[in-house]
């Protein structure tokens, strides 16, 4: 067989981006592993542990809230045609085009002191920038469920709500979970909006910035590494779980 030079060439070009993403990860982690003492010290730092806890808590809360509101919205976007649907769809995608610092300013202007420096503020900033992932994934998940399945469930005696919970939702669930994981990942990686809305309670991502500004690169490195390892582990485990349920 003739060798497929085109695909090989494309693969070669494409490799660049993969390496580009991997390289800094590998470098920062391996550098930190050589500085084991500092890593251990950081792991016993109350401030760091508290900030990590805050990050995990707020991003998980954000994911749950985005599911609660995003799944019904996704269903409506998938099943109904209505006037202004494209407007609603555009609104859902707006957070992607707004710089995150601007998101923070907007939220602060709108809700002022009520959200300043509070868990609520962090979650609201996270939700604003990360909810579209859940909404769009839910919509795509429901779109992939044949409407005939719901119709048949109805004629077999299920109410609309029962058909939703026994047929549509279970079938869309893998897609919805993928979206929720993206929401969680986006939430825990958010800095810009949080920095403006809620510098305290301190989240790990903000702490990294603070350490960098105050003590320099070396000081901010260990907590960066911990944050990266933690996020990546959770992200990979969740993706693996969803992938497994998809193939079941």
């Amino acid at each position: 067989m003739k060798r497929d030079y085109v695909t090989a060439f494309f693969a070669l070009i494409g490799t660049f981006l993969v390496l580009y993403i991997l390289l800094p990860l590998v470098v920062i982690i391996s550098k930190q592993l050589l500085d084991w003492e500092m890593l251990m010290k950081t792991l016993h730092d109350e401030l760091v542990l508290d900030s990590l806890k805050n990050s995990l808590l707020t991003s998980t809360a954000t994911m749950i809230i985005s599911l609660f509101f995003g799944v019904p919205l996704g269903y409506v976007l998938a099943r109904k045609d209505f006037r202004g649907k494209s407007f609603v769809q555009a609104v859902v995608d707006v957070p992607i085009v707004i710089p995150h610092s601007v998101v923070g300013i907007m939220l602060l202007v709108t809700f002022s002191n009520r959200i300043l420096d509070s868990y609520l503020g962090i979650i609201m900033a996270m939700l604003f920038v990360s909810a579209p992932f859940t909404i769009n994934a839910a919509r795509d998940g429901f779109l992939a469920v044949d409407e005939k399945l719901e119709h048949v469930a109805r004629t077999l005696g299920a109410s609309k709500l029962k058909a939703f919970f026994t047929v549509s939702l279970p079938l869309a669930l893998p897609s919805i979970f993928s979206g929720a994981i993206m929401t969680w990942a986006r939430a825990i990686s958010e800095v810009g909006a949080i920095l403006i809305v809620a510098y305290y309670p301190k989240t790990a991502q903000v702490l990294v910035m603070e350490y960098f500004n105050n003590y320099g690169l070396r000081a901010s490195r260990p907590i960066s590494v911990i944050l990266v390892l933690l996020s990546l582990t959770i992200f990979i485990v969740l993706r693996w779980l969803v992938g497994r349920s998809r193939n079941a």
Binding site: V152, T155, K162, L171
Partner: protein, 344 residues
Amino acid sequence: MLRVENVNKDWKEFKLREISFEVNKGEYFIILGPSGAGKTLLLEVIAGIFIPDSGRIFMNDEDITFLPPEKRDLAYIPQNYALFPHMRVYDNIAYGLKVRKTPKSEVEKKVKEIAEILGISHLLHRKPKTLSGGEAQRVAIARALVLEPKLLLLDEPFANLDVQTKAKLIQEMKRWRRELNFTALHVTHSFEEAVSLGDRVGVMLNGRLIQTGEVREVFGKPKNEEVARFLGFENIIEGIAEGRILKANGILIELPIEVKGKVRIGIRPEEIIISNEPIKTSARNEFKAKVLAIEDLGSLIRLTLDIGGIELKAFITRSSLIEMAIKEGKEVYASFKATAIHVF
């Protein structure tokens, strides 16, 4: 039992116009029409998935036009079967019973019973995507029939199956009907399904139900040219078969295969040979016939013949008509080969 009155509906490129018909209890009613005629839309309106723009639907004299699907007590089997892919076959069949909060032991008993009758007991633990087309269709029918619905709605149930599976399922469908005694409304574009299964048929063209009636009546006397052209097969004879002989209205017809009991046969008008004198050959069905009507179809002439009380349509060419001096009331001989007969 089901009565549809003047139903109109527009949806996307499909439409229903002034649809009225009735399905009686225990009847197998077939709506026959080409694709795009609006057959699926009609089923969905009856199932309650769509509300008609105007008109009424009654079930046992109760107006169900605006009832939601789950309150109508009928079962709908769409063309792609729509098995729930995340449930095993057992749970698919049990779905309606579970929704009705039937006790678990009873669910199990009923599912096993219906699976036994439909010959799918060995599939109960499988997921739908591992089933063949014929198996999936059986599961879909089981899921519907286990609820003993007042009416079964079938959308092209055999369209996606290969010829052999299809023929087998049609025969089994007759048996299931005898055993379970359900009422069905079946839409199809297949002439064969209509003649094999239908007690009565309705012909649907462009969103209108043009003609309804007994199978033999509709095929024998198409209401207009449009229906006749769609049906194609114009001679349907009903009778009692005994081996290779069919007794119909006093005449005996030799069949190409052995069958027993009440059957319908079809003969295409172009297969019938007309002559002034009897043709002396064996293996032919030959009858003395009286010409009832002569119709000019342009290139062909269609004769309506009477053979011992049965009406037959036959095509001859214009030159034959003149040569043989055929006129209304004239006696001729009509013959056709046993092999030209289609036994349904």
